[in-house]
Symmetry: C2
Subunit: 148 residues, 2 copies
Amino acid sequence: MHKEFEQFKDFLESKGLKNTRGRKIILGELEARKNHFNAEDLYSSLTRKGTRVSRPTIYRTLKLLERFRLIERFDIKKNCFYYEPISQKKNHGHLICEQCGKIIDFSSNGVELLKSEVGRDKDFKLDNISIQVFGVCRDCQRASKNKN
Amino acid sequence: MHKEFEQFKDFLESKGLKNTRGRKIILGELEARKNHFNAEDLYSSLTRKGTRVSRPTIYRTLKLLERFRLIERFDIKKNCFYYEPISQKKNHGHLICEQCGKIIDFSSNGVELLKSEVGRDKDFKLDNISIQVFGVCRDCQRASKNKN
DNA sequence: ATCAATGCAAAGACTTTGCATGGTT
DNA sequence: AACCATGCAAAGTCTTTGCATTGAT
């Protein structure tokens, strides 16, 4: 991970952009988390830590990181954008628990199959695939079992 | 399709809800389209036809239809909810052209494989699966080829 | 007549933008 | 010093809500 974020500095430099306090803080926070997050998550945890960065800066930096392909944006049924670091784990999807909102990564051979079938059948030039599976996670299944 | 929409009337009745002008108009419009749409699409095409229904009514009716499982809501990278009628074609996903925005349905054996693998591996109680594939459709591929 | 549905206007949630100020190189 | 980034406040989008009025049964 570190390596990718190092590259970000070079990217900024190559574009005449600046390696500012705000960007460093946000990068640092992303390294610490590495999992799914949204702009508000980021904002509030930075604020809580006292290393405040404004919302506009967060939004702007996330866009920059997305453009540089350090993070990826995806949508779940929540009316806001979620992000996650682009990582080695290609071809994965998200399990989203409808009860607690938890997001769990998964990967499956089905994803590969899907990609190959889709490209072939529909004459569609594939770029990115986004898979969301909604349901109930183990913990919430247990919790509701215990209630009865 | 007609049949499902007939049931809607019964549903309304059974809940003490009313079969109003607005709801009839929206239902009629959905029958006419049957494909992907969002609230604004609906609003503007109804307005164009002179059968205006207010935005709040549209949003409220779409929610009702979703609750009744006549339509399904899904999210693409566009900052708004899209809907589509729930149909016989189970286990399908959407190809979304990043250039023209067109949405194409597809189905694939990969979807089945995915479902079975996910349920097994993660101990996740599956409810609904939402697959979006981003890329470039045939028409846009051609168009950009012709430009060169 | 009753109670739900509608439309308007206003509020909400999330995100983006204009602009003056401050920070990086 | 030059120019980008930041923060604030305000504007944008899409969606929801309060409330008085209209409409369905």
